[in-house]
């Protein structure tokens, strides 16, 4: 039976699952809307991989993304890694020359600086949403443009509109203003791309030395207008990996594989039974101290599996993670 490794990236917008074979080539990828329900998303993701999982043996599982802890409890992950390390691991496996990774996802954006195949520096967007995918989604929606066409329309612009403002709210009001002044739609879209890239470079990437080769990944990499804007402002070529939208999951899979192989471990993967189990999340407010932590409990078929969310450890240490 062929062996494979599973990577799961649970983000606030999407949940991605990938299967890699032992040569770390992608076998299959699944992209699911998290829609506020990560458990359901993970289940659905596994169901979508059912055919492959029947004929392949999973030897390692890794999780990443903001829901990585939950996912790891659910599937029995061998490694839980933050998304920065995961993204870098994926990029370096396929593009060992990479020195800079630009990553823009639905809710966050980051830059990762690599030298000699080691991550030496990184930054994530701080408070502002103006540099992320959901901002573009919102503006596309406002303008009545399907997000999938955003990039190609933007590329048509010859005279991009200048959209001011570093912050989503200001950029939006300025854009509405420009729209009312009668600017062409493609010029506004291009203007938005330029504004987003400008924000990214002066905000997230401030003070970072951007050297080639540059890899652009994350969901927003699908937008050709953004790629162009990066290239114009950096005056450098920007490459987009084939599986730009699931690089986090790929990274998690690679890290899991390395972890299991180097330690000659058996995987903790619990298997497809996840998809048939009935999971329930309960939350309660602990009244033990004025912190009033929100305690989250995960039940599988009515049996308590895990508890987390407390600051003091009173809850999370009492239940063993199974």
């Amino acid at each position: 039976m062929q062996k494979c490794t599973l990577g799961i990236d649970v983000g606030s917008v999407s949940t991605n699952l990938v299967l890699l074979n032992e040569e770390k080539h992608l076998v299959k990828k699944v992209y699911i809307n998290t829609a506020g329900n990560p458990i359901k998303a993970i289940k659905n993701g596994l169901i979508a991989l059912e055919k492959e999982l029947k004929i392949m043996e999973v030897y390692a599982v890794g999780t990443t993304g903001s829901g990585r802890q939950l996912a790891s409890i659910l599937v029995g992950a061998d490694i839980v890694k933050n998304e920065i390390t995961a993204h870098a691991a994926a990029a370096l496996t396929y593009y060992p020359d990479t020195q800079t990774i630009l990553e823009i996802g639905g809710q966050d954006s980051k830059i990762i600086i690599i030298r000699n195949q080691i991550v030496i520096d990184f930054a994530m967007n701080t408070v502002c949403a103006a540099g992320t995918g959901s901002f573009l989604d919102r503006q596309a929606q406002r303008l009545g443009i399907p997000i999938t066409h955003f990039g190609e329309i933007a590329l048509k612009s010859k005279n991009p509109t200048r959209i001011a403002g570093r912050c989503a709210v200001f950029a939006e009001s300025d854009m509405i203003h420009k729209q009312q002044m009668g600017h062409k739609i493609e010029d506004i879209l291009k203007g938005l791309c330029q504004a987003l890239v400008r924000n990214f470079l002066s905000n997230v990437a401030k003070g970072k030395e951007i050297r080639p080769s540059i890899l652009f990944q994350g969901g927003v990499a699908a937008n050709a207008g953004i790629k162009k804007a990066f290239e114009e402002q950096l005056k450098l070529n920007v490459a987009i990996p084939n599986d730009y939208d699931v690089m986090g999951a790929i990274g998690a899979a690679i890290l899991a594989s390395n972890h299991v192989v180097s330690r000659k471990k058996q995987t903790n993967f619990v298997g497809m039974k996840i998809t048939t189990r009935n999971y329930e999340i309960k939350s309660l407010e602990c009244g033990g101290c004025p912190n009033c932590c929100e305690i989250i409990q995960l039940f599988a078929d009515k049996k308590l599996m895990a508890t987390w969310g407390d600051k003091c450890g009173k809850w999370s240490s009492t239940v063993a993670v199974s």
């Binding site: 903001s66 933050n82 030298r115 000699n116 080691i118 991550v119 003070g207 004025p290």
Partner: protein
């Protein structure tokens, strides 16, 4: 008399002194609760919007003491080192409190101003004693006793490389004791930032505990001697007039120049004026002259713990990676 002391800001530096001094003068000390969600909420309600997180939280601590004490001790900390300040908000702290919080009990807001001379430290406490109607002799005895306790406290932080909570909180150290196992491949980082941010476990989202759990050795400005700080700041082209900023920069340069650390974590609260510039100098020099990874953690009341953890974990991965490859790969540049 029951004197309330807010468990915030300079509590982390001077509490042993304050406690001993007041108790030696037969006063009862009441501390506000450790920072928590309610207290933060109260602080946000009361404080002027644009202040930084620790000052907002200080407002919450003061409110927490109302009704429990006869007076609240909020010294006006103008300067604790000659020719230096803390920051404008400290100069105006008692004013801000009085302007913003209704129904306050008496406030003891004696100036602590060592701008011209360190002698004023003694005078500050004489004045405090006088407010409490004590005679010179009583005050002197209390002062000497408090000074000995304070010196022991400071010495212990330096000698044992521990944090103020380890000493100030009875439960803290015991709960973390098991983590202190020696591990030769330990990472060593500088943890820089104002003491009232890094040592308040609520504000810093348990950063100290997280580092200890991950077996990371850390050095803070409170764990080094004044000599080290003087040594570290001697190459600044202009003396830094913010005491806490100077301590951070001095600690950083001393260790950077001796290549004794794997990375620097700088913790600052959103809206902190001095740190917006101190951080810039620190970060620029660390990267440009020393090529050492630098992590800036910015804290405010909206900071999510998830993003905070991701940054911290990724940063430690970076340090591990560098340490692992150090022998095989020439320094990048």
């Amino acid at each position: 008399m029951k004197i309330g002391i807010p468990r915030a800001l300079f509590y982390y530096q001077y509490y042993p002194f304050w406690k001993t001094f007041f108790e030696s003068l037969d006063q009862k000390i009441v501390l506000s609760s450790p920072t928590n969600k309610d207290l933060l909420k109260k602080g946000l309600e009361l404080c002027v919007d644009d202040a930084c997180l620790p000052v907002k939280i200080f407002h919450g601590h003061v409110a927490n003491l109302i009704g429990k004490v006869d007076t609240i001790f909020i010294p006006r900390i103008i300067s604790i080192e000659p020719k230096e300040y803390i920051c404008p908000k400290f100069l105006g702290l008692p004013d801000m409190i009085k302007n913003s919080i209704p129904d306050l009990p008496d406030i003891i807001d004696v100036d602590l101003n060592l701008y011209k001379s360190k002698i004023m430290f003694f005078r500050h406490f004489i004045k405090l004693g006088e407010i409490l109607n004590k005679n010179k002799k009583q005050i002197l005895i209390a002062f000497n006793k408090a000074q000995r306790v304070q010196q022991r406290f400071e010495y212990q932080l330096i000698k044992e490389k521990i944090v103020p909570q380890d000493i100030l909180s009875e439960t803290y150290k015991i709960s973390q004791n098991e983590i202190f196992s020696y591990n030769p491949s330990k990472l060593k980082v500088l943890l820089l930032g104002h003491h009232y941010n890094i040592y308040d476990d609520f504000i810093s989202m348990n950063l100290i505990m997280k580092l200890r759990k991950k077996n990371v050795t850390f050095i803070t400005s409170e764990m080094v001697t004044n000599k080290i700080i003087v040594e570290g700041t001697k190459n600044l082209s202009k003396d830094m007039f913010w005491t806490l900023g100077k301590k951070a920069i001095g600690t950083a340069y001393y260790y950077l120049e001796r290549k004794k650390v794997d990375g620097i974590i700088h913790v600052a609260s959103f809206g902190c004026g001095p740190d917006s510039l101190v951080g810039e100098i620190l970060e620029k020099r660390t990267r440009r002259d020393f090529h050492i990874p630098f992590l800036f953690l910015n804290l405010d009341e909206h900071s999510g713990e998830a993003g905070f953890n991701t940054r911290l974990e990724a940063f430690l991965d970076v340090l591990e990676g560098r340490k692992y490859f150090e022998d095989n790969i020439p320094t990048y540049g």
